[in-house]
Symmetry: C2
Subunit: 332 residues, 2 copies
DNA sequence: CTGTTAGCGCGTTCAA
DNA sequence: TTGAACGCGCTAACAG
């Protein structure tokens, strides 16, 4: 049954018929016990209520469709010890493969993963020394690109707004610092406003308020993610700060919402669905023992320029009411 | 080991010591095989990339924390046959409990669930005849409440905007129809604009455009969900339609974003995290054989009134650009 | 290519 | 109260 091509067609037919007649269904517990291998692909992420990871999971699920592997999702709640515990639990299940978010596992966690004896893919980032395989994008480089975009649009007092500040956010912040220093725009930490609070639209507004209190001459912000960016945009509207004229805004992830907000928000597009799909494909290839498989993939990113940073060359006014996009006067 | 109190303390200590020394960890596959019962709680939902279900899952996960049960999430992609197949797969795992979204299972699916021999909780809705247990809210009643709110605020040409139109959305639409008819405001299907497309901010704007093309005198909309509502708000801003003066907007679910948008959006709050948590608690109680447990729970809903429908007593137009939230003059 | 057999690690039952 | 024996349904290894 497991290897249909090694058997005479006649026998195969008989088996198939018997399966039908008896309504046979394999018992996964028995399979796992006898083979010392389950059909589970463990997926360890920091949060489920974050669109970013939902997109990743979609890719994973789609990649596993029409296979007899099952994804098993767990969330670490952004804690390293939580991750270790979860990995320890997984190791008792003898999973067929593991997908873990990020590259900041503890030494212990790395060890557990290596000892699992199954393919392991780290996702969402790049790294020169993955545990096994890796697919994602360079967060720091993406942060740099975002800030370069703002500079190219003529902004100079560029702040950074970040919630939660998990390792990926830290790397984006590092990218921001790289560019600000290289361009001679750095003012120490004066323009950086972060909070350990979970990310949300509301917190985006708060962060902007806090930063403006310290730096009234701020003219642009690079936001940790699109939630923060949209929250900051709303805060601008509440304060009568026109975007993009008085304030440029760049988000991160390019969620659906930033493309249709008014004004639309410039964002760094990352490929989360593709990342999940690829991670699964890497595992499946490894499981089939296919040669020449890629063990490391950079999915890249793109800065999608939109109205929230489109300060140059826009001269006229859109219609009235509720209309934040109304440059009155323009010099370039 | 499984029943520590039936054993002499001395023996218990010896066992504990041995467990430590050997680094013993139970093998879930062997447990499942020997007992014909796994420690898995199956969770069947239509989509993972929908904030609504992410909230539900959070509740489920938190409820299962510190138990030795594990949630297993699968998504049906909004298809009834997908649901049947997934349930069939689950039944081979002999789950400890099942949580399924909605009440619109096929007869076959219902049968599979009843035959699983484990507690089953339907979530997100109410029903007089659940398969086993149920926790959620009355979607139709919630739809009615949303429309009543708009009427109370003086709106009369009230449209309905809906994407995807899954069974829950259909029930909200039914609630809309109930009220429009009862109040003599119904115009057949003229004011109803729906699409089978998945919900998104973008589609919210499109739906409003389409409806406005047919009904230029529209003065309010009840939206299927907050994504659609926010997309519609952005479309209003693009068209220079002032909210709430020229257009009232009510969303559904009360996501974080609607409370901080400008203007903030009135929405129907539902209790999704609580629903997930309660569903798990019901299952755990059943599994422990606890008596007097509630088998059906209505988690209710609340209309959270915000600026997007706050037309009465607000007489003048908000200040210019970016500033919808600043009433200058107030009469009540 | 096909039929047979021995465990996988646990829960359960029975005897002590 | 404890220990021993059996078998859950399957995979893998082997002999036919």
């Amino acid at each position: 049954m497991r290897m249909p091509d090694l058997v005479t067609p006649a026998t195969r037919a008989k088996v198939t018929a018997a399966v039908e007649a008896l309504g046979y269904v394999p018992n996964p517990a028995a399979q796992a016990l006898a083979s010392a291998r389950s059909r589970i692909i463990g997926v360890v992420i920091p949060s489920l209520t974050n669109q970013i990871f939902a997109d990743l999971l979609s890719g994973v699920m789609d990649g596993l469709d029409a296979t007899d592997y099952t994804p098993q999702f767990v969330n670490t709640r952004y804690t390293l010890t939580g991750e270790e515990n979860l990995l320890r639990i997984f190791s008792t299940q003898r999973p067929a493969g593991m997908i873990v978010s990020g590259v900041d596992q503890t030494a212990m966690a790395r060890q557990i993963l290596m000892d699992m004896g199954c393919p392991v893919v780290q996702v969402m980032e790049t790294s020169p020394n993955p545990i096994d395989m890796i697919v994602g994008c360079d967060q720091r480089e993406a942060g740099r690109a975002a800030v370069h975009h703002l500079i190219a649009k003529g902004y100079r007092q560029i702040g950074f707004l970040g919630a939660r500040m998990d390792p990926r956010a830290q790397r984006r912040l590092a990218g921001y610092r790289d560019v600000m220093q290289a361009e001679g725009l750095a003012k120490g930490e004066l323009l950086v406003q972060t909070t350990p609070k979970p990310t949300s639209y509301t917190v985006g507004g708060q962060l902007l308020s806090d930063l403006l209190a310290r730096c009234p001459d701020l003219d642009a912000i690079f936001c940790n993610n699109d939630d923060v960016a949209l929250g900051a945009l709303f805060e601008c509207q509440r304060r009568g700060i026109s975007v993009p004229e008085q304030m440029g805004i760049v988000g991160f992830n390019d969620l659906d919402v930033v493309s249709c907000s008014v004004p639309s928000i410039t964002s760094v597009r990352t490929h989360r669905y593709q990342t999940g799909l690829t991670a699964v494909q890497m595992i499946l290839a490894e499981l089939r023992g296919e040669p020449g498989d890629i063990r490391s993939l950079d999915t890249g990113f793109e800065v999608i320029a939109r109205q929230s940073t489109d300060r140059l060359g826009r001269l006229d006014v859109p219609p009235s009411a509720n209309q934040p996009v109304k440059p009155k006067d323009y010099h370039d």
